[in-house]
Symmetry: C2
């Protein structure tokens, strides 16, 4: 067995920040600061290897470990010139856990170890503050009883509450010394009663028990589950940090505070923090007294202030990152208790990263790795004002389906939404769920709220594409679309009532909450330029309209990875022709209807080709089952039957014929193209004719025709033949290049990718559907069990948000390998929702995809994630 214990403090420090595996993150940082000459309260770290040994020994510390602890304790007593558990000059210790990776479930802190009925006398004498000493003792017994001896927290709270009630006081601080003494006695009795053992009065025993409790918590269920779910392997255990206690509440030259080395909200390079004089750390947090800005410390304790400034600069310079630090001043002596990378807003993260490069503190690679791609979302959307938000209570929490804040008047149907928008109102569309019919209403709204559907429901996917706020799957909302009411949180909303959605958190509020505009500052642009230098993955966008495409290009999209042609089928005259086609009893009728649709499609494609100006556009052929285009409401059925010169009964009969038990697995995708080749033909004509016309007018075009839902290479052959025949006819005499490829979204397509690649010029993974089929999860229905799965730890994350690399990813990887085994340079991308999710983007990079495609508002996120993936490689 190696050395069990590492000392830190002034010149005797044995560890450093590279030793996280052995000393844990906290221990390594304390050692590092001590080595830098930062005034850290001295102490020692018991290694993670000792934790492993603890389990080998049957959950107890070895004699060798105890011996080393004793030795280090002596060293500490020497260096402080105090004695642990001493009645005159008592040394007090804190004990904290600290693994290489921070995780929940580990044992909490125990403070004031070393206090007992004897040593408290010394503390009273030394501090000259009897109340402080007894309160410290009370805290020790409570914390120790709870976290080391396992007496539930609420029993202690009960005793404390009873005491306060009896005294008729509100705050702990109002209790007298006698009260505190009495509470300590009652706490001890409580422990005896619950555990059958006395609270240990021996200081050494306290230390050993606390240490063993920390080690014991390594294998508790919560920690184990967390490690398993997060795939944290290979850790030996947790370390234990025992450190000398310092007190900020020892009079007017004592105090405590926290600070950041830069402004964590804006990223500005300034000294940012707050403190309280004559106070303990808890008091800063408890909110009883209002802390003062750090700058005012200069007037009170100028020397210590200057020392702090010197320290913060030194530490930031050393760690080369913005730090979040804690300090305590005990009787005019400054101690730094902790340093760690500071949490920051997206804006601050971007500004810090970019400015630190300018300052020469970090290089561009580090800057790119410094910003969490997921955070960028905050910068790209209108947000609810965080301060104003605090004053409102959430009525309910749905899924955060599309980020940003939305405030508007409620509309329950598309027509009303459109009218209200025309009248100058901002509108929030409230529906049980949405279908492609609702595109007009969604377009008119600033936000969408649905009671049903998950993160990849129609509403969610479309809203993200539009960059609109959406809260989906708010099951507790009772929406009656016909009556025009929404019941939520005890309130009944009617049409025209104001409502506020927070698509970033999923919360819904009554009335109006102010919003803040997105801020794409210059730093954001600089960070994107850096990211572009490193990333290897291309980033495209999923867009169906010139408007979305323009937005995506602004965000840096390099092409369209998924244009869903059916989204063009819904507006005005088009939907009528589409319905006419569906209802035609024969080929001639269908062809006539298709001829009406074609000019619209052609115009749409031409507009996209112009906007994209030579960038590639992957156009997916018709994908959804035909019944999605038929009306659902009785009144619409009657109206449409009239328009189409048929009877409502005949229309209903057709609808019943088209009805499917599992539409997801039904007659859709290329299956439509196989049974109705005339649809494929029309779409190919529209694509190639548009490409030809735009090219003739002088704009470069790059069409990529994508056949959806292939499961069998024969399907692709069948569809390719039709497309090639059209291309030959339409593009004869031009030099337009085009590709024909396929979605890989059916598991069988991945399994037979080698065969499919013989016919395909590119693959694009439709990981939404691939996830549905590989996991057997209907994304419209998962709301019934996936939340419970996540809660019970059966699933770590919603697989529709974060790619399931173990399952679905295995198929994706297999398809890449098989596909390239028959076509070496096969171009491969991903166009599912996962294309904009950072961990999934990293996966795509790792398995060698050529590009990812995501909704316009996630393009910057994908770019940053791609750059990070390349840098981590």
């Amino acid at each position: 067995m190696n050395k069990h214990v590492y000392f830190f403090g002034a010149d005797k420090t044995e560890g450093n920040k590279e030793m996280k595996d052995l000393l844990g993150g906290k221990g390594a940082n304390l050692a590092e600061m001590a080595s830098l000459g930062i005034p850290v309260p001295p102490g020692f770290t018991i290694t993670t290897e000792t934790c492993a040994e603890f389990y080998e020994e049957g959950e107890k510390l070895s004699d060798a470990a105890i011996k080393e602890i004793d030795e280090n304790l002596e060293k500490l007593e020497e260096s402080m010139d105090m004695r642990f558990g001493d009645a005159t000059n008592p040394l007090l210790l804190s004990v904290r856990s600290g693994a290489a990776v921070s995780m929940p479930g580990m044992m909490d802190t125990v403070l004031n170890l070393g206090l007992n009925d004897e040593s408290i006398k010394g503390l009273i004498e030394k501090s000259g503050n009897e109340r402080f000493a007894w309160d410290s003792y009370r805290r020790l017994v409570q914390m120790f009883g709870d976290v080391v001896m396992g007496v539930e927290h609420h029993y202690f709270e009960q005793i404390l509450d009873t005491a306060k009630e009896t005294k008729g006081v509100k705050f702990d601080t109002e209790l007298s010394i006698e009260d505190l003494k009495e509470i300590v006695v009652k706490y001890k009795e409580l422990i005896k009663e619950k555990v059958g053992k006395e609270f240990p009065t021996d200081a050494k025993e306290q230390l050993i028990m606390a240490t063993e409790a920390v080690f014991g918590s390594w294998h508790n269920n919560r920690a184990k589950t967390y490690r398993r779910l997060n795939d944290i392997k290979g850790l030996k255990g947790t370390a234990v940090n025992a450190q000398v206690m310092v007190f900020g509440n020892m009079g007017e030259t004592s105090g405590t505070g926290v600070f950041f080395t830069r402004d964590p909200a804006t990223g500005e390079n300034l000294f940012y923090g707050e403190y309280l004089m004559n106070a303990q750390g808890e008091d800063v947090v408890a909110g009883i007294r209002t802390p003062k800005p750090i700058s005012t410390l200069k007037e009170i304790l100028p020397e210590q202030y200057d020392e702090l400034v010197e320290i913060y600069k030194k530490v930031e310079n050393h760690y080369k990152d913005m730090q979040d630090m804690e300090f305590t001043i005990q009787e005019a002596k400054l101690y730094i208790l902790q340093t760690r990378a500071g949490k920051r807003t997206a804006a601050a993260a971007v500004r810090c990263a970019v400015e630190m490069v300018d300052e020469g503190l970090i290089d561009e690679k580090t800057a790119v790795l410094r910003v969490d791609p997921n955070q960028l979302d905050q910068l790209l959307h209108k947000q609810l004002d965080p301060i104003a938000k605090k004053e409102h209570e959430s009525l309910g929490k749905g899924l955060p389906a599309s980020p940003g804040g939305a405030v508007g008047k409620i509309a329950f149907d598309n027509d009303t939404a459109v009218e209200m928008k025309k009248a100058g109102d901002t509108v929030v569309l409230v529906r049980n769920d949405t279908s492609p019919e609702d595109l007009i209403g969604m377009d008119a709204a600033v936000g969408i709220l649905t009671a049903k559907g998950g993160m990849t429901s129609h509403a969610a996917v479309v809203a993200r594409g539009m960059g609109k706020c959406c809260v989906s799957g708010l099951g507790e909302a009772k929406i009656n679309e016909k009556a025009g009411t929404l019941e939520l949180g005890g309130i009944t909303f009617k049409e025209g009532d104001y409502i506020t959605l927070d698509g970033t958190s999923g919360d819904v509020y009554e009335g109006k909450i102010p919003t803040t505009d997105p801020e794409l500052s210059g730093d954001f642009g600089k960070l994107m330029i850096m990211a572009d230098k490193f990333r290897k993955l291309g980033v495209r966008t999923n867009a169906d309209t010139p408007k979305d495409s323009e937005q995506a290009i602004k965000f840096g999209a390099e092409g369209i990875g998924l244009c869903r042609t059916e989204h063009m089928f819904f507006e005005g005259e088009r939907i009528k022709a589409v319905r006419e086609m569906i209802l035609s009893p024969d080929l001639d009728g269908r062809k006539k209807a298709l001829a009406k649709i074609k000019p619209f499609q052609k115009d749409d494609f031409a507009a996209l080709f112009k906007v994209m100006n030579g960038k590639p556009i992957t156009i997916r052929l018709l994908d959804p089952p035909l019944h999605e285009f038929l009306p659902r409401e009785e009144k619409d059925i009657i109206e449409i039957a009239g328009e189409l010169n048929t009877t409502p009964e005949a229309l209903k009969q057709k609808m019943s014929e088209l009805h499917e038990v599992n539409p997801m697995l039904g007659h859709r995708g290329c299956r439509l193209g196989v049974t109705y080749p005339e649809i494929t033909e029309m779409q190919a004509e529209a694509i190639f004719e548009a490409a030809r016309d735009v090219a003739e007018a002088g704009t470069e075009v790059c069409p990529e025709v994508m056949v959806p839902l292939i499961g069998n290479v024969e399907e692709l052959k069948n569809q390719k033949e039709i497309i090639l025949a059209v291309a030959k006819k339409v593009l004869e005499g031009t030099d337009i290049d085009y590709l024909i490829g396929t979605m890989i979204e059916v598991p069988r397509a991945a399994l037979t990718a080698d065969l499919i690649a013989e016919e395909a010029e590119f693959f694009s993974f439709g990981t939404n559907d691939l996830t549905q089929m590989t996991l057997g999860f209907s994304r419209d229905d998962v709301g019934k069990f996936v939340p419970e799965y996540v809660e019970k730890g059966l699933l770590e994350k919603d697989p529709f948000q974060v790619l399931d690399q173990t399952g679905v990813g295995q198929l994706v990887k297999m398809a890449v390998e098989k596909g390239r085994s028959t076509k070496e340079n096969l171009k491969i991308g991903i166009c599912g929702e996962h294309g904009g999710e950072p961990s999934s983007v990293e996966f795509c990079h790792r398995i060698g995809l050529n590009y990812v495609s995501c909704s316009p508002f996630r393009v910057p996120i994908a770019k940053l994630a791609a750059a990070q993936a390349a840098l981590k490689d």
Copy 2:
């Protein structure tokens, strides 16, 4: 290049029956017979290698090949002492294709090659029958024009029809010599007009052209598609057989006939056949004259009859299989034209195989390989009388969902079906589709007809399990269940009308057709005993009731591989309690309802344990989504709301909450057990308590608890914990062994089988659902495109009937390998419908499964298929 041409005939024969790759099946058999001394008309075979060479040479015969053809032609002329194309003693030839594997699309036969305006004179003279000679010539020109020169068949028919009309006659045979001459002239003009070339009068040219036409047909689209779909690879091409023509219509000592070496209907060992004197082969088939039984030939040509008997015995003895042979007697000289294995009924196949073993002709292995497992189905069900059936016209053809014949009165709902049965009628249940609610009606019926649903729809699966006839997916049937009408083939049936179903073919007939009873003769039993000696796969059954289980044991099932517990949920009081559970708003309510269901479940399991008497029973926990148990019809909703003390509105509200867009991928299987652990607990209690009680009463029990729809090992852990806790509680103090395992039916389960195997004691492949998810095919909806896929050649077979080995099979194989990589001796079976399909059974054997499980009536089929798979290994 090797030898191009192989001669056969008497002592000069160069080939034999082992040379199928080179000479094709037909050529090899002709050579074999010639070698045996059988009087085969001599000829020669042009090899398959020559076919390959033909393509290498740019679709023409090489000089070397033509030279060899010439040499062999000379040899033939010598041996026959006749001259090809000669005006006085003309040799005539037939040309036929023949590859190693027979396939459609290849060029048809051309007869009478060598006839022209000169040689016909010789034929007239030699035969003394001018009409015969001209008719032969006419046939040559027609066949040659059609198959060699590509003039469509119907043009020739037109000329012939016009001639008959002009003459006012009905049959070809009524045309005069002059008529025939005129037709020959017109045929030649037709060829000239359509092809621009003359009909070749040179005999040699005819032969070369015919040979090239055969080779040319090797690469036609139909043949290529057939080879691709059937995965026929590595064939060099087709061979060509040129053979001397013999004629059975040269007078009273000539004749022609066909015979089998055993009775092809019963398998009885006797000389079975028929013949016509003074006739050509076509006349036997055409049905103008009635052929006579072969035994009567003994009186007319006793010498030739005896020769035939000698030959048939010799040939059967040589080939060791029942032969189907053709003969011609030309002027008292007997020729054998062909021999091949005879097509036979299932009964004949079984009897032949078993008796040939008894006779010492073949060994048991050969006998087992001799019977097509698919055919056995014929023996296991009541069938429509094949002769009576011919007199009826099919009104429509649905899917042959469950074999056998059913005759009964129509009922459109369950109650009526039950009442009619009580009244002593046999009932056919006619529904648009069925759901578990209809089990009672199906049980009361002898056959089921549905308009919707495929081969694995609820109706189909349940009917097969019950061994009842079922025709499903008869789309053209218009069924109005409320009005009680079925419209089909122009007839409107009402309740109580008689209808006949043929579940073996999918045909539906009006009225009553007699049926024949299944015949499980002693030979069948003997064959099964032989099969059991060789097979390595276990064979279990899918059964939920003691009745089905008993049936399956009679058929030789070795256990239950799938007991669907939800099938026990539907009867009487149970369904009420099940609905009460579903509608309970809280856990307490659910537990109360579950307590009512438990005694039923326990009794059901106890009954199964008793019947199975120690054989293993794999019990699957609740699988379908809960909404399947709720009523669908308005009147039932009202009634059930009353029973459950709730309102129809509340019931509908609950139903709408439970509604799923894609129930197949929804809240079902283990997902129910995870969100409602009390259901799993109740089922585990029922299983283990029943096992304990039955064991205590002295019957051995072997329960295997199967958790359905696992996609993630965490789900299995979760459910296993519940089951283990119950087992511990209930089985304490007993020595009952049990297993806990899982279905592999979600693609992700196959992909992560290594992880799942760590927790599972067995796997059972649910290939129905695995096929649905891997292919993205909803089995309830595939009727909209799968038939068209099969028709267009995009799919060879319905993947719900025959396992898709390329796609789904890949996942199955992967799961077996991964599963056994972490648990070496993992027991693995299959319980999807494929478990009773021979080619899928062979696949299961090959990849090392332990057992297959199928519906009771397919157990013998699976056993035979398993034995064959083991023998082929």
